[in-house]
């Protein structure tokens, strides 16, 4: 655990299917609302339906796809309401998480976080979009890893962040959001330095609500 948003993949057929289907989803390969045929996925992945079904069930429990009764699963039509809910939950949970992190704050941590912010800023200045994303992600990963022992909270936050990836669009609007992010991250660092629990929770909440607003813009401009 650590660098990316991935859990470590075993080399089992189920995980193979899981990885394949998930990345296919994130690449936008499935039109929202369309039934995802198990057999087809099985053929594409090169395994049988059984592990595909496991993988689908897992993805559903992570909320990336939705069960449609006896009509299989589909990539959820991303209602704005659902997107909002995910961001709201992130705000609440990551806000709480930041509270838990306060006792673990030390110079090394502040240094790591500051590096993420600085590098992201550099990337913005030199126009390297992908790098901006990488460093902003790393910022949250760094905080996230500190609560890895709270397995439920940790997994929840990971799942929600995975889900949110679908709203990542490589647009100018996204860059605008990235700039906001950097500001938010700076505030988070200050709050951690101050060490006030309520403040930390609040700052993180506001940061993620801002991210929600930016994602919202990105989607709107998309339609």
């Amino acid at each position: 655990m650590g660098n990316g948003l991935e859990k470590n993949n075993q080399h089992t057929a189920t995980d193979k299917a899981y990885q394949y289907i998930k990345s296919a989803i994130l690449c936008g390969k499935f039109p929202p609302g369309e039934r995802m045929a198990e057999e087809k996925l099985a053929a594409e992945t090169g395994v049988s339906r059984t592990p595909v079904r496991s993988a689908l069930s897992r993805l559903a429990s992570e909320g990336l796809i939705k069960p449609m009764g006896r009509r299989g699963y589909c990539f959820a039509r991303d209602s704005l309401e659902e997107m909002e809910e995910v961001f709201d939950l992130r705000a609440v949970l990551e806000g709480y998480a930041l509270r838990l992190i306060i006792p673990m704050v030390n110079d090394r941590l502040i240094e790591s976080l500051t590096e993420c912010v600085d590098r992201a800023q550099e990337a913005i200045d030199s126009g390297q979009r992908h790098q901006v994303f990488e460093w902003n992600t790393k910022f949250h990963d760094t905080l996230n890893d500190l609560i890895a022992d709270k397995k439920r909270l940790y997994n929840l936050v990971c799942d929600l962040r995975k889900y949110v990836l679908r709203y990542r669009k490589d647009t100018l609007q996204y860059i605008k959001g990235a700039v906001h992010s950097i500001d938010g991250h700076r505030k988070i660092i200050y709050a951690l330095k101050l060490g006030y629990p309520d403040l930390c929770e609040r700052v993180m909440r506001e940061h993620i609500m801002e991210a929600k607003a930016d994602a919202y813009q990105t989607i709107i401009e998309d339609r």
Copy 2:
């Protein structure tokens, strides 16, 4: 949805297995840490291994059981840390949920909630333990159902509450906790009447933290 903690069960084999296994767990039929053999469960449920595996996977995603690599699942040894984490999450999420409920407050709701509290009180006075549990549960259900449209939040809270059932012991200590609960529920009603978001969130958090402390006592006395 509504009365109990159950989602409505389809009459499919998977759901049959799910129900059976879950109630078996909650009855304490599985010693913590012991491997739950799929074939055995299949035989007891009267279905094949396939739906049993589905059910196990679902229970694992709800956190009631834990996967042990390639060695199947087991009822998680309930470390105190894990119990604490579940209550903490409930506090955070249900606290946030109460915030969302404020705009929906009306006389009918207040009436329903008040009835739950009064009936629970009556049940305590007449020593009907099971009734106490029923009405306290109904109190939370009533609130919970109001956020049913926020599906993620709703399901999360349902899962966490299901999980917490394992700490329900029919002891005197539990009755003591129930009394605390009733006080907490009264405070929640007041907070809702006042309609201050921060207050509502805080009152609910404190209520659940108290429940945690009581559950803690119950467990301790058990050892």
